[in-house]
């Protein structure tokens, strides 16, 4: 299959999955504020002080980040955009383009609310990146590879959620923080008019909806790859298993997130640096001990 056909198929599949994610999420969260909230698709706000380039660049950069991240998600043996040797590392790097996009648009819109959203989104990045990276390290240690397909293949005996429950819990919390769902939706809070979504309308609003739903899908899909054995499973074909696990994990994350009170950015930073990062360091050591005692994939 030519690389151009592959890229086009990947883009079409991802747009459909993002749409499915958005549809499911709206059923699940039922009108709560956050990235799932309705944005004006048919009205485009004329912002008096907006930057001519930064403001429209934001949603495009975010869409690029989402589609780039989707390249390394495997849906079956061989059913992957490109099995990069540095897959997981590539994934966490390109997904941050979504943050860059939100920051560009927030700063570029140049209203008090959107600039506030810009500050909050950057602070949230500082909170989630390190614990998220530490949650991934455990899976890499056991799989001895950064490639997403090899990480799935290493779980053919036992899923990593059984071997690394602490890492899975860490991924749940920091993954929710990465995709701005409750209780970590401070950059999209109603207090600042929905952040950048409050100043988006027309085509940027459509792109934001795709990119932010896609972000949730990718975070859940990567969780399924790292801890739930990806496409592995009996009876059903691989892609079906992958989608079932992804959406089950997504429902679990959204459900658990709604049990907690919304956190301010200051509380998120405190949670991250006083709880999640120490837990992440402990998780790395625990997984190391497991491997030294010969527990895990051969």
């Amino acid at each position: 299959m030519g690389v151009a056909v592959k890229a086009a198929l990947l883009a079409v599949a991802m747009l459909m999955l993002a749409w499915l994610t958005a549809w499911l999420e709206r059923r699940l969260v039922r009108g709560e504020p956050g990235p799932a909230l309705a944005v004006a698709l048919d009205g485009s706000p004329l912002l008096p002080n907006r930057d001519r380039w930064l403001y429209p660049a934001g949603p495009i950069v975010a869409l690029v980040g989402f589609l780039l991240g989707a390249v390394v998600i495997p849906f079956g043996p061989g059913l992957i955009g490109q099995d990069l040797d540095i897959g997981v590392f590539y994934f966490i790097v390109v997904l941050d383009f979504v943050v860059l996009g939100i920051a560009l648009s927030g700063w570029g819109a140049n209203t008090p609310d959107s600039v506030e959203a810009f500050y909050r989104i950057v602070a949230q990045l500082v909170a989630y990146v390190v614990p998220l990276g530490m949650a991934l390290v455990g899976a890499i240690m056991m799989a001895k590879s950064l490639s997403t397909t090899r990480i799935v293949a290493a779980q053919s005996g036992l899923w990593f959620i059984v071997l690394q429950p602490l890492g899975f819990a860490l991924y749940l919390v920091s993954g929710l923080m990465q995709c701005y769902r409750a209780p970590f939706l401070e950059p999209f809070a109603t207090g600042i008019g929905g952040g950048i979504l409050g100043v988006a309308g027309g085509w940027p609003a459509l792109l934001w909806r795709i990119a932010l739903s896609g972000l949730l899908f990718l975070v859940a899909a990567m969780g399924a790859v790292l801890f739930l054995g990806g496409w592995l499973g009996p009876w059903l074909p691989g892609p079906v298993w992958m989608l079932v696990k992804t959406y089950a994990l997504m429902a679990l994350m959204l459900g658990l997130g709604r049990l907690a009170q919304p956190l301010s950015v200051a509380q998120m930073l405190a949670l991250s640096w006083k709880v999640l990062i120490p837990v992440g360091l402990v998780n790395v050591l625990l997984v190391g001990l497991l491997i030294l005692f010969g527990i895990g994939p051969a």
């Binding site: 592959k6 990947l10 004006a40 485009s44 589609l67 780039l68 240690m141 001895k144 790395v284």
Partner: protein
């Protein structure tokens, strides 16, 4: 350009004699360029597709303009997390160092574990110090 150091390492690993080394090196370099191009070509294409889709949507989507009145907000602002941002830089780099270590850990065994133990102890001391000095407080 990007993969030149990698080619160099591969050349050293594969060849011992000088002539052989040179041939392997240049061949490997060509192969590496080829592999890298074909592996990351899809990423480049995806960027093009995303940008094209966005422009298409921007050109076709008709939206009613709604005037909004909001004051300009670009100003110097004292953000609440300067110390966090600095510690973040240190920890982000440290996390990146963990990735290659994690890949080879299972093969290296106890010595790699002890190395990382020292590394993590130093970092934990760093967090404890920042915490103690109120560095983890919102300003």
């Amino acid at each position: 350009m990007l993969c030149y150091p990698l080619c160099f390492i591969k050349g050293i690993r594969f060849g011992k004699r000088r002539l052989q080394f040179n041939i392997t090196k240049s061949k490997n370099r060509l192969n590496m360029y080829d592999d890298t191009l074909s592996a990351y070509g899809i990423a480049g294409l995806v960027i093009v597709i995303a940008a094209g889709l966005s422009l298409l949507v921007a050109a076709c989507w008709k939206a009613v303009p709604m005037p909004v009145s909001a004051p300009a907000a670009w100003a110097q602002f004292r953000f609440g997390y300067p110390v966090y941002a600095l510690i973040f830089l240190a920890f982000d780099m440290e996390m990146i160092f963990m990735y290659p270590w994690a890949v080879v850990f299972a093969d290296l065994g106890v010595s790699a574990f002890l190395d990382m133990l020292v590394f993590i102890a130093l970092l934990a001391a760093g967090i404890a110090y920042a915490w103690r000095m109120d560095g983890l407080a919102w300003e």
